[in-house]
C-alpha cells in the first residue's frame, strides 16, 4: 500500500518531468502524458481507498526521503495514509482528472499548451504532497508549492497585465499566511524536536516549551502553534481578512479556477485543520476564533458577490463564502462536516466553474454577465449542468450541497453558537440571490451571441471534450451527499482520522437520525424558508424584473470595494510600498548612510587635504619659519615636561 501510494504521489510529478523534457513535441503527446499520469493517480487513489477500507489497517506512516538527519533534529519526507488522506486524494485526483480532460479542449488554441499541463500536473503533485504529508515540513513544502503553481497558473497568460498583477498579489497574500504557518512549523520543531504527525499526536501536550508570548499575549505553546498554523490556513482558504487575493486570481484560465481556486488548493487550509484536529481539540480559544472567522467570511463575502458582475468573480466570492462555512464548521469542532462540505463543494464548484468556462468560450471570452444572455437555447447541456450545480450550491434539499451545508448550519445552531448560526442562516439568502443572478442573467433573456452563431445547431454547443466532464461532475454534485452522509456522520468514513467524533455522534443521534429523515426534516426548518424566499425574490427580481431596489450608494460602494480591501490591496498597499520604500532607499540608504556617513567622511578628508595643502606655500621663509617653530615647540614641550 505504501508503494502504491508512492506511485500515486509521484505519478503527476513524473508526468511533469516528462512534459518538461518533451516541451517541443506534439500536443497529442502532451495530452497523453498529462492525462495518463493523473488518471493513474486517480485510479490508484480509488484502489488504495478500496484496499484501505477492506483491510482497515489504521493510519500508516512511512518515511522515504531524508531531508535532514542530525543530532539536533531529523526531518523526512514521507507518506501518511489514512482515510482522510485517501478521500481527499480521491477528490483531488478526480477533479484534477476532469479538469485536465476539460482543458484539452479549452486550451487547444493556446500557444503555451504544453506549459499549461506542466503547471497543472505539478499542481496536482504538490496538492497530493500536502494530502499525504506525514509531517509538518512536508505539509509546508507542499503548501508553498501549490502556492507556486497557483502563482504560475494565475499568471499563465504572461502577456496579460492584469493576470501578472493578480498572481503577484495572490502569492504575496498567501505569503502573509505562510508566515504564520512557518512560525507554527518552527515552533513545532522547537518544541517537539520533530515535525512528524504520528509522534506529535502521541505526545501532544508534553512539549519543551511552556508558553509563548506573542506581542504581549501569552499563549500555551500548543495554542500558539495552532493559532499560527490557522493563520496559514486563513490565507490559503481565503478567510477574512486575507481573502482578497482569490477574486483576482480569476485572471487565470477558467479550468484552473475550477481546479485550484475552487476545488482543491483553497481547501488545503480546511484539510490541514482537519488533519490536525487532535491538536486543535486541545487548544483553548483558538477554535472560537476559527468559528467566528469562518462565519464572518461566509456572511460578509457572500454579500460582496451580490454586486459583482463578472461571472467568475461571483463564483469566486461564493467560494470564499462556502469556505467560510467549512471554517465555521471546523471552529465548532465539526471536522467531518467541514470535510464533507469540502468534498461536495469541490464537485459542485468545479462544475460551476467548468460551466462558466464553457460559457466564456462560447461568448468569446466575455465574462460580464450583463453582456451575456439567453444562452439556454444554445447551450442546453451546460444549462442543465449549471442548474444542478447551482441547486447544490444553494443547498436545495437532496442535493449534495444540501446535506453538507444544512448539516453545518444546523449543527452550529444545535450546539448553541448563536451569532455564527445567524450569520450562516442569513448567508443562505445571499447565496440564493447571487446564484440565481448568474443563472437567470446568463441563460435567460435576450441572446447576446452574434447573429451568425445564433443559427448554429444547438447540439454541438461546444467540444464534446468540454461537455463530458460536465456530465460526470453533475453526478457527485447532486447525489454524493445522499450516499455518504450516513457513513460520514456515524464516523465510518473518516474512522479515527478526525477528532471529536463523539460530538458528531451526539448531533447525529439527537438531530439528524438518518439522511432521509434529515431531508424530510429540512422542509420544516427556517433554512428552507429562507431559501424559498430567496428563490422567489430572485425569480421576480432577476427574471421577471418585477421591481427594482435602490441599494443605498454607500452600501453598494462598500460592497463593490469589498469593504475597502479592494482599494487596500490594489491601491493603498502598492502606493505606500512604492513611496515608503523609495523614501527609505533615497533618504536613509543613500542620503544618510552612504552620502552622509561614508562619502562625507571621504570628502571631509579630501577637503582637509586640499585645505592643508595650502600650508605648503613654496616660500623658503615660510618653510624655515615652520621648521624653527617646530623646534621651539619641541623645546618648550621638553621644558614643560622635564
Amino acid at each position: 500500500m505504501i508503494a502504491l501510494t508512492l506511485i500515486l504521489l509521484l505519478s503527476p510529478l513524473i508526468g511533469t518531468l516528462l512534459l518538461l523534457l518533451c516541451q517541443n513535441s506534439s500536443k497529442d503527446l502532451t495530452i497523453l502524458i498529462s492525462n495518463i499520469s493523473i488518471l493513474i493517480a486517480f485510479l490508484l487513489s480509488l484502489f488504495i481507498l478500496y484496499l484501505f477500507y477492506s483491510s482497515n489497517p489504521g493510519p500508516i506512516s512511512a518515511n522515504f526521503l531524508t531531508f535532514a538527519d542530525t543530532k539536533l533534529f531529523s526531518l523526512h519526507f514521507g507518506i501518511y495514509i489514512d482515510s482522510l488522506a485517501l478521500i481527499m486524494s480521491s477528490v483531488v485526483t478526480s477533479v484534477s482528472l476532469l479538469v485536465h480532460y476539460y482543458s484539452i479542449s479549452y486550451m487547444k488554441d493556446d500557444t503555451s499548451f504544453n506549459r499549461f499541463f506542466i503547471y497543472t500536473n505539478f499542481f496536482t503533485f504538490s496538492m497530493l504532497l500536502i494530502v499525504f504529508a506525514n509531517n509538518f515540513l512536508q505539509l509546508f513544502i507542499g503548501w508553498e508549492l501549490v502556492g507556486l503553481s497557483s502563482y504560475l497558473l494565475i499568471g499563465f497568460w504572461i502577456k496579460k497585465e492584469s493576470a501578472i498583477k493578480a498572481n503577484y498579489k495572490a502569492f504575496l497574500v498567501n505569503r502573509v499566511g505562510d508566515i504564520g504557518l512557518l512560525l507554527g512549523l518552527c515552533l513545532i520543531l522547537l518544541s517537539y524536536n520533530t515535525t512528524d504527525y504520528n509522534q506529535i499526536f502521541q505526545i501532544k501536550n508534553s512539549i519543551n516549551i511552556d508558553s509563548v508570548s506573542i506581542f504581549g499575549f501569552t499563549f500555551n505553546a500548543l495554542s500558539a502553534i495552532c493559532l499560527l498554523l490557522f493563520i496559514g490556513a486563513m490565507a490559503k482558504s481565503a478567510q477574512v481578512p486575507l481573502q482578497f487575493w482569490l477574486p483576482d486570481s480569476m485572471e487565470g484560465p477558467t479550468p484552473i479556477s475550477a481546479l485550484i481556486h475552487a476545488a482543491t488548493m483553497v481547501t488545503a487550509g480546511i484539510y490541514m485543520v482537519a488533519r490536525l484536529s487532535p491538536l486543535y481539540e486541545l487548544t483553548d480559544g483558538v477554535l472560537i476564533f476559527i468559528l467566528y472567522v469562518g462565519s464572518i467570511t461566509a456572511f460578509f463575502l457572500g454579500l460582496v458577490a451580490l454586486v459583482q458582475n463578472d461571472i467568475k468573480r461571483i463564483i469566486a466570492y461564493s467560494t470564499i463564502s462556502q469556505l467560510g462555512y467549512m471554517t465555521a464548521a471546523l471552529g465548532a469542532s465539526l471536522y467531518s462536516l467541514a470535510m464533507f462540505h469540502l468534498i461536495t463543494h469541490a464537485f459542485f464548484k468545479a462544475l460551476l466553474f467548468l460551466c462558466a468556462g464553457s460559457i466564456i468560450i462560447k461568448c468569446h471570452h466575455e465574462q460580464d454577465i450583463r453582456k451575456i444572455g439567453g444562452l439556454r437555447k444554445y447551450m442546453p447541456i451546460t444549462y442543465l449542468a449549471f442548474m444542478y450545480a447551482s441547486l447544490s450550491l444553494i443547498g436545495f434539499p437532496i442535493t449534495s450541497g444540501f446535506y453538507s451545508k444544512e448539516s453545518i448550519i444546523d449543527a452550529i445552531g444545535y450546539f448553541g453558537h448563536t451569532i455564527p448560526y445567524l450569520m450562516l442562516l442569513l448567508s443562505i439568502f445571499t447565496t440564493t440571490l447571487y446564484t440565481s443572478k448568474i443563472f437567470f442573467k446568463v441563460f435567460f433573456g435576450e441572446s447576446t451571441l452574434p447573429k451568425e452563431e445564433q443559427n448554429e445547431n444547438p447540439s454541438n454547443e461546444n467540444d464534446r471534450q468540454m461537455l463530458l466532464p460536465l456530465f460526470i461532475l453533475t453526478a457527485p454534485s447532486v447525489f454524493l451527499g445522499l450516499f455518504i452522509y450516513d457513513p460520514l456522520m456515524i464516523g465510518i468514513l473518516f474512522q479515527n482520522s478526525l477528532a471529536a467524533n463523539e460530538l458528531m455522534m451526539s448531533f447525529y443521534n439527537g438531530y439528524v437520525i438518518n439522511s432521509f429523515k434529515f431531508f424530510l426534516h429540512s422542509f420544516t426548518t427556517i433554512n428552507f424558508l429562507i431559501l424559498l424566499i430567496g428563490l422567489i425574490f430572485s425569480y421576480l427580481y432577476y427574471y421577471k424584473k418585477a421591481f427594482s431596489i435602490n441599494v443605498p450608494h454607500f452600501i453598494r460602494t462598500t460592497l463593490t470595494k469589498e469593504y475597502g480591501f479592494e482599494s487596500l490591496s490594489s491601491y493603498l498597499i502598492p502606493k505606500v510600498q512604492n513611496i515608503f520604500t523609495k523614501y527609505l532607499w533615497r533618504k536613509i540608504d543613500i542620503s544618510t548612510i552612504d552620502n552622509g556617513l561614508i562619502n562625507n567622511t571621504s570628502s571631509f578628508i579630501n577637503n582637509l587635504s586640499s585645505k592643508m595643502k595650502k600650508l605648503q606655500t613654496g616660500f623658503i621663509y615660510h618653510y624655515s619659519l615652520i621648521i624653527i617653530s617646530a623646534l621651539i615647540l619641541l623645546l618648550i614641550l621638553m621644558r614643560i615636561t622635564h
Partner: protein, 476 residues
C-alpha cells in the same frame, strides 16, 4: 693602517678620483665610465661583504653591522645607477659627473653609518648634503630644478646649523664628542642636575636636524618640493640611500649615546612618527604630481620607521630596520618604474600622464600595480609585512590607540595608491602620444621581489633579525 685601504669608502673615494680623470679622456664613450663606476661599486660592495678591518678607529666603527648596511646601500646604489643611466641616456642628458657626485654622497652616507663621533657624523652628513645639493640642481636648464636646489640648500644649511648648535651643547655638557664617552657621561649624570637639561636641549636640536634630513614631520616641509623639482633619478636617490643612512644614524645616536635619555626622545619620536604618518597620508590625497605623491608617501613611511624605533624595544627595532629596507626597496621599485616611463621625451610628471598605460604597456602597468599595492600595505606583498611588524610592535608595547590611528591612516593612504592604479588601469587616454622605454630585467626583478619576498618574507626577515642581533651586540 693598510687594511683600511680595503674598506669600501676608501675604494670608492680613490676610484671616483680615477674615474673623474679617466672620463676626461672619454668624451664620447660615456658608457665606459659608467661601466667603471658600476664596477667600482660592485668591488666596493664585495669588500663591504667580506672585509671587516680588525683595527678600530675611535671615531669610526667597523663592524659586521655597518658592513652589512653598507652592502645593502651599495646594492641599492648599483640598482639606482642602472635606472639613472638609462633614464638620463634616454633624455640625452647623461653626464658622468652625476655619478661621481653621487658616489661622493654615497661615501658620505657610509661615513654617517660608521660614524662613532659627532664630528664624524657631521662630516658624513655634510658630504651627503653637499652631494645632494648638487644633484638636485643638476638639471641646469630647469627652473624647477634650481629652485628646488636652492630651497634644499638654504633649509639644509639651516638644519646643519641647528645640528651644530645641538652638537655644541652636547659637547659642552658632556665634554666629549665620542658616542661611547657621551653615553658614559650621560649615564653618570644625576638626572636632577642642570647639565641634564643642557643635554636634553642638545638632543632636541640634533633630533630636529636629523628629522629634517629624514624628512619627518613637521620638518618634512622641504620634501615634496624637492622631490618634485629634481630629476626623477635624483628623487630615487634622495628617497632611498640617505634615508637608510639617516636611519642608521638615528639608531646609533639614540641607542648608544642617548640611550639613557630614552624616556625623553621616545616621546618626541612617537609624536614625530604619528605626525609624519598623518601628514604624509592626508597631504598626499589630493596631489596630482606623481613625484609629490611619492614624496608624501615617503613621509608617511618615514613616520612608520620612526614610530617603530621610538618603542625602544627589540621588536620595534627589528620592525624599523625591516621597514626601512622594505621601504627602500619599494621606493626603488616605484620610482624605478617611473624612471622607465617617459612621455614626450621628458619624464612623466602628473599621475594623469599614466592614463591608459595598461592598454599600451601592460608590463609597466603590472609593475606599477605591484609597487603601489605593496606601498599601500596590501598582503601578500612585502609592504604588508613591514606594516604588520610595526603594528605588532606597537601593540606589543601597548600602544593600542596609536596603532589604531596608524591603521586608519593606512586606509587613507591606500586611497592615493589606488588612485594611481585607477589611472593606470581604469582610465583611457585621449591622445596617446607617449613613448615608453622597453622592459628592463633589473626592474622586473626588483618588482617581482616585492611579491616574492611578500610570499616568502622569512628570507628578508631572517636577514634583518640577524642584523638586529648584531646591533644589540654593539649597543649594549
Amino acid at each position: 693602517m693598510l687594511e683600511l685601504f680595503y674598506i669600501p669608502e676608501v675604494i670608492l673615494s680613490i676610484g671616483v678620483l680615477l674615474v673623474i680623470i679617466i672620463d676626461l679622456y672619454l668624451q664620447k664613450h660615456k658608457y665606459i665610465s659608467f661601466f667603471l663606476i658600476q664596477l667600482l661599486l660592485i668591488i666596493a660592495s664585495l669588500y663591504a661583504l667580506t672585509e671587516v678591518p680588525q683595527q678600530n678607529y675611535s671615531s669610526y666603527e667597523f663592524s659586521e653591522f655597518t658592513s652589512s648596511i653598507k652592502f645593502i646601500l651599495l646594492l641599492g646604489a648599483i640598482i639606482i645607477f642602472q635606472y639613472t643611466y638609462q633614464h638620463l641616456n634616454y633624455l640625452n642628458s647623461l653626464k658622468i659627473e652625476y655619478f661621481t657626485i653621487s658616489i661622493l654622497g654615497l661615501v658620505g652616507t657610509m661615513v654617517m653609518i660608521s660614524a662613532y663621533s659627532l664630528l664624524m657624523l657631521y662630516l658624513g652628513i655634510e658630504l651627503l648634503s653637499l652631494a645632494l645639493y648638487a644633484l638636485i640642481g643638476f638639471n641646469k636648464h630647469s627652473g624647477l630644478s634650481s629652485e628646488a636646489a636652492i630651497k634644499y640648500y638654504v633649509l639644509g644649511a639651516m638644519s646643519s646649523g641647528i645640528l651644530l648648535f645641538g652638537i655644541s651643547l652636547i659637547y659642552g655638557f658632556t665634554g666629549s664628542i665620542n658616542y661611547f664617552d657621551i653615553a658614559d657621561q650621560i649615564r653618570n649624570i644625576n638626572s636632577t642636575s642642570v647639565q641634564y637639561l643642557g643635554i636634553i636641549f642638545g638632543l632636541i636640536f640634533i633630533t630636529a636636524s636629523l628629522c629634517f634630513k629624514f624628512g619627518a614631520a613637521p620638518f618634512h616641509i622641504w620634501v615634496p618640493d624637492i622631490y618634485q623639482g629634481s630629476l626623477i633619478s635624483t628623487t630615487i636617490l634622495l628617497s632611498t640611500l640617505p634615508k637608510i643612512g639617516v636611519f642608521i644614524v638615528f639608531l646609533k645616536l639614540y641607542f648608544i649615546p642617548f640611550m639613557a635619555l630614552e624616556y625623553v626622545w621616545s616621546d618626541i619620536l612617537i609624536f614625530i612618527g604619528i605626525a609624519s604618518i598623518i601628514i604624509g597620508s592626508i597631504f598626499a590625497l589630493t596631489q596630482e604630481n606623481i613625484k609629490r605623491l611619492l614624496a608624501y608617501s615617503a613621509i608617511s613611511n618615514i613616520g612608520f620607521i620612526i614610530l617603530a624605533m621610538a618603542l625602544v624595544s627589540n621588536d620595534g627595532l627589528h620592525a624599523s630596520l625591516y621597514y626601512t629596507i622594505v621601504y627602500s626597496f619599494t621606493a626603488l621599485a616605484s620610482f624605478g618604474v617611473v624612471t622607465h616611463i617617459t612621455s614626450n621625451s621628458h619624464g612623466i610628471e602628473d599621475i594623469s600622464d599614466l592614463a591608459g598605460l595598461s592598454k599600451t604597456h601592460p608590463y609597466f602597468a603590472i609593475l606599477i600595480l605591484i609597487t603601489m599595492l605593496s606601498s599601500a600595505g596590501i598582503p601578500p606583498l612585502i609592504g604588508f609585512h613591514a606594516k604588520l611588524m610595526v603594528i605588532q610592535a606597537l601593540i606589543n608595547n601597548s600602544y593600542i590607540l596609536i596603532s589604531i590611528i596608524v591603521v586608519l591612516m593606512t586606509v587613507v593612504s591606500a586611497y592615493y595608491y589606488l588612485r594611481v592604479i585607477k589611472t593606470v588601469y581604469f582610465e583611457d587616454r585621449e591622445n596617446l602620444i607617449s613613448t615608453y622605454t622597453s622592459s628592463n630585467i633589473l626592474l622586473s626583478i626588483n618588482v617581482i621581489l616585492l611579491l616574492g619576498l611578500g610570499i616568502f618574507p622569512f628570507i628578508l626577515f631572517d636577514t634583518t633579525s640577524f642584523l638586529v642581533d648584531l646591533l644589540t651586540v654593539i649597543s649594549i
